[in-house]
């Protein structure tokens, strides 16, 4: 990111601390220069222009900003960009391939798991963290895994169904043991 400051004839521009970080996002290697206080959510949204990661509450409650950091579901409004140095981030934009949706994306559409769509990327990323470690979750497992994500539209019932739909599809795709 490039910052342009007013030249007031003093050293203000030099006063702005900047750190250089390296990270991987959705498989792409990146280098960024960021203020140490920059939130990871804002690096993703404003720096990388990946606007599928939403910010809803600023207090780590709503989960709309959930991304995966090294496979773990993380609320990216509560992590500094500099803490992502050397790590691998996945966002909603990395779920689908150019030709194919991820089963979670299909499941949310099939089971009407979204209405306004604002919480959806965070819900799907939290669900992905669950399904990456457990392809056979119970309804209770899903509800618990999503309990850090708020939705005001759906009442969750269809979100839970969406995740179970995706789990079933992923199981059917998994190579037989």
């Amino acid at each position: 990111m490039t910052m342009v400051y007013e030249d007031r004839g003093d050293d203000t521009a030099q006063d702005v601390p900047v750190r250089r970080i390296k990270f991987t996002i959705n498989g792409d290697k990146k280098i960024a220069e960021v203020e140490p206080r920059l939130l990871l959510a804002h690096l993703i949204r404003y720096g990388l222009r990946l606007t599928g990661t939403h910010t809803g509450c600023d207090t780590t409650n709503c989960g709309a900003c959930t991304v995966l950091v090294d496979g773990q579901a993380v609320k990216s409004c509560t992590m500094l960009a500099v803490q992502a140095d050397g790590h691998e981030i996945q966002t909603v934009e990395g779920l689908a391939t150019p030709s194919e949706l991820h089963p979670l994306q299909e499941g949310f559409k099939e089971e009407h798991g979204l209405q306004c769509g604002f919480c959806t990327p965070g819900m799907m990323m939290a669900a992905k963290a669950l399904l990456d470690r457990d392809l056979n979750p119970s309804e209770e497992d899903v509800r618990w895994a999503l309990s850090g994500n708020l939705c005001r539209c759906t009442g969750y019932q269809n979100i839970v169904k969406s995740v179970l739909w995706a789990a079933e599809k992923l199981r059917s795709q998994a190579p037989a043991e």
């Binding site: 910052m3 909603v92 949310f108 979204l114 769509g117 959806t120 999503l146 005001r152």
Partner: protein, 796 residues
């Protein structure tokens, strides 16, 4: 040979068509206000008052101006020089944009900073020094009308006290007469606490004033873009045709995104002054403490009863706390919204309602949170009163309701407060619900459980809600009549675009409007694109709230499609070389009455409109329809909940919840069920945990998601939905009624009634929402009601 099309196959009415809008949302490709970046865009942050009531002695912004990257600091004083320190509200009051003389609630907008990025703008806000002189604080209507109360709105002439209005409706004398003749009078008093719609996406705007063209474009989170355009024209004194409001994807609204907020106005002024785009994105705390709250009404009432259970009359009084400015969004004629829709489902000969509104040092902007102009409070009181009255009579809850329902053959029915209900099968809905919950069996289980010390309860709530404002005779906002519109353009290849003046926020208009076109014209829904939210392209409409989209804008879609069909009929007659009178219509196709094999499809008519129209016919195939509904739509619902209360802790769990909704014809059953489940969850939230209260100093308790509790997937119970009962709306072109809000309106009383039922025998008649464990525990332990004022904590 052409054939009629199968309505479900083409995604017409009744098809649970998968949603079109999902394709972008599941890929993270939605386009919400904060996703938009314009060249040269600056960022705005708001400095808010930490105090609920204080005189501003001075504001020193010099340190903010000194921070590199700051372009502008706006204060009330600067706004005043442009006549923008105050703005008119939707309820004929005024609201401060940026405070000049005083702050009147915690979180009030005091100054704005516009800077290169939001971090710098926040830094600069912290660098502004405001010297406040604290003043006495009012946090409820009792304090507002107490002798010697400070007058909050001393900025207004002719405002000697804190009373905004005194309003009444109904038959005072007839009601008094009925009470005098009653065998029994049942009474109830309660508080519907302040809540907040709290969509996950907060409010925001990007104002982009272009000096070269004089055009102001504003991207903003609004449910009603055309109303905003008119409001901006009035407030900013700009010509209306030079204002373009674009409402991009909206991350939930629920009423919160109807009003005009100071942040919008400041971003517009900043863009005009700086000639650059200015983005304002509110943080959650700002959203919760300053924007449109809901409820906060004290209700009391009494019911005159005959010994056999017949209701003779109802008397109600409401005291509504409107906060520091009366900026409610509601029709002009009704100062307390549609509160007088109470008891509409019951056949009650006489009723009288008085209502008083007062100012307080709390956030302004009462909105109808997932309801139609305060019917939530009305239905909640109605069903709590019904339970109390049945208990006082010693009658069964279900039977008491059944015997007082308006019977199916009594429509149209004039309600005790003057509405005209037109259709319903109330008893049938109740029967479906009782059967689903296994009523008799549950009552037995309840008895048995009680003998073993377990507390089970069952709560019934019914509601009929006046949805779909207006008609224009009775409903207007600031004098603008509440009709709606749709525009349909059929292209030459038979594909189409439909635009309305509504604005979807998750309700799925992009999917369902196309289904209505498919139903009317036989054009497959996938061939119809829906566009809303841009005032330069969409026809005028009053926006999406009060469950009015399907009743009004959806009706306009059907009507405009019928206009297209009428023209297509002429084209078909021309193509088939017969007179128009000899043409018949079946879905997707016109044919010759005497020779049904001879026909043309709607698509063939479309190309003819461009390539082969008869002499003298205006080419093209498009139309606009404005729809002024003859009446509101009246959906009905029965919600039944069973709960178990822990006698040791007061914690209660939902065992079962059954919802029977009769919303007439369902356009997309999948979407309708989604709306009902969302509403039920908000009902559960309000009854269980979600509320905003204030301490004695006016500090908002509930200013973030750590204090303002919303249910997650973990707490939210499952719901069983029933759609067996369908009573089409007699006046709606496709027989649909509103549905988005019913469950949030009727649901809360079912949960509360269930918990009160579990405590039967303790003498507890009321616990105010939310039914937090400590309140339930206190009520059952000390055998007393928890009613009235919210907990006002003070430091002593």
């Amino acid at each position: 040979m052409s054939q009629a099309v199968d309505e479900i196959k083409i995604g017409g009415i009744g098809a649970s068509r998968k949603r079109v809008e999902d394709n972008r949302f599941i890929r993270g490709k939605g386009n919400y206000t904060d996703d938009i970046v314009l060249p040269g865009m600056l960022h705005m942050e708001i400095l808010r008052s930490p105090l609920a009531h204080a005189r501003i002695k001075s504001i020193d912004a010099s340190k903010a101006w000194d921070i590199p990257g700051v372009h502008l600091v706006l204060t009330g004083e600067m706004m005043a020089t442009r006549n923008l320190a105050w703005m008119p509200t939707l309820s004929y009051d005024t609201q401060a944009v940026l405070a000049t003389d005083k702050v009147r609630f915690q979180g009030q907008e005091v100054a704005c900073v516009i800077a290169d990025d939001p971090y710098i703008a926040k830094d600069a806000c912290e660098a502004i020094v405001v010297d406040y002189e604290p003043l006495p604080v009012i946090v409820n209507p009792m304090q507002a009308v107490a002798a010697g109360a400070p007058v909050i709105r001393d900025d207004k002439e002719n405002q000697p006290d804190n009373v905004i209005y005194d309003w009444e409706v109904g038959d005072s004398a007839g009601t008094a007469h009925a009470f005098a003749a009653a065998d029994l009078v049942s009474k109830l008093e309660l508080h519907y606490p302040r809540s907040h719609p709290s969509p996950i996406e907060c409010c925001g705007s990007i104002a982009d004033f272009n000096r070269a063209t004089s055009k102001l474009t504003v991207y903003m989170t609004t449910q009603a873009p055309h109303i905003i355009r008119a409001a901006v024209a009035m407030v900013a004194e700009l010509p209306e045709h030079m204002i373009r409001i674009i409402s991009p994807d909206i991350g939930g609204g629920f009423g919160n995104k109807v009003p005009v907020y100071p942040g919008y106005v400041c971003s517009i002024l900043a863009s005009i002054l700086l000639e650059r785009p200015v983005k304002w994105i509110e943080d959650k705390s700002g959203n919760l403490i300053s924007t449109g709250f809901a409820r906060d009404v004290y209700l009391k009432g009494e019911m005159a009863l005959r010994r056999d259970g017949k209701i003779l009359a109802v008397r109600m009084h409401t005291d509504a706390d409107h906060g520091a400015f009366f900026s409610d969004a509601q029709p002009s004629k009704f100062k307390i919204g549609l509160m007088h829709s109470a008891f509409a489902a019951y056949d009650i000969p006489a009723a009288h309602l008085t209502a008083r509104g007062t100012y307080s040092n709390k956030a302004p902007g009462g909105v109808a949170y997932r309801c139609s102009f305060r019917v939530t409070e009305a239905m909640f009181f109605q069903e709590r009163m019904m339970q109390a009255a049945a208990d006082d009579l010693g009658m069964d809850q279900a039977e008491f309701r059944r015997m007082n329902f308006v019977p199916d053959d009594a429509f149209p029915h004039r309600t005790p407060f003057g509405f005209l209900t037109d259709s319903g099968q109330y008893a049938k809905c109740l029967d479906v619900g009782l059967k689903a919950i296994d009523y008799e069996n549950f009552r037995q289980q309840q008895e048995e459980a009680r003998s073993r010390g377990r507390l089970l309860g069952l709560g019934i709530s019914t509601m009929t809600e006046p949805l779909g404002a207006g008609n224009s005779r009775e409903y207007d906002i600031l004098g603008i009549k509440m009709f709606d519109s749709a525009e349909l353009k059929v292209h030459m290849t038979g594909k189409a675009i439909v635009r309305t003046g509504a604005r979807t926020q998750g309700q799925g208009h992009e999917t369902t409007w196309a289904q209505i076109v498919a139903h009317e014209l036989g054009i497959p829904a996938e061939d119809v694109v829906v566009e809303e939210g841009d005032t330069d392209t969409a026809p005028f409409g009053m926006g999406t709230y009060a469950s009015r989209s399907t009743p009004v804008a959806g009706a306009a879609v059907a009507m405009v499609a019928r206009k297209i069909r009428a023209k297509a009929r002429k084209l078909a007659a021309h193509l088939l070389e017969v007179s128009e009178e000899d043409i018949e219509w079946e879905l997707g196709r016109f044919y010759v009455r005497s020779a049904p094999d001879r026909g043309v499809t709607i698509q063939e008519c479309a190309i003819a409109a461009y390539a082969n129209m008869p002499d003298g016919m205006e080419p093209g195939l498009d139309a606009t329809a404005y729809y002024d509904p003859p009446n509101l739509t009246w959906p009905f619902a029965v919600y039944i909940v069973t709960v178990e209360v822990d006698p040791q802790t007061g914690v209660w769990d939902v065992l079962n919840m059954v919802a029977v909704d009769d919303c007439g014809v369902r356009i997309n059953p999948m979407i309708v069920e989604g709306q009902i489940m969302g509403g039920l969850t908000e009902a559960y939230a309000m009854s269980n945990m979600q509320f905003i209260t204030f301490d004695a100093d006016g500090n908002c308790v509930g200013a973030n998601y750590m204090d303002y509790l919303l249910p997650t997937a973990w707490e939210t119970p499952g719901f069983e939905l029933h759609s067996e009962v369908v009573t089409p709306c007699p006046h709606h072109p496709i027989g649909a009624k509103g549905i988005g809000e019913c469950a949030a309106v009727g649901g809360p009383a079912a949960f509360v009634n269930a918990v009160i039922d579990a405590l039967s025998g303790t003498g507890v008649r009321n616990i105010d929402m939310p039914l937090l464990p400590d309140r339930v525990w206190e009520a059952m332990t000390y055998r007393r009601d928890i009613s009235g004022a919210p907990p006002v904590r003070s430091d002593d």
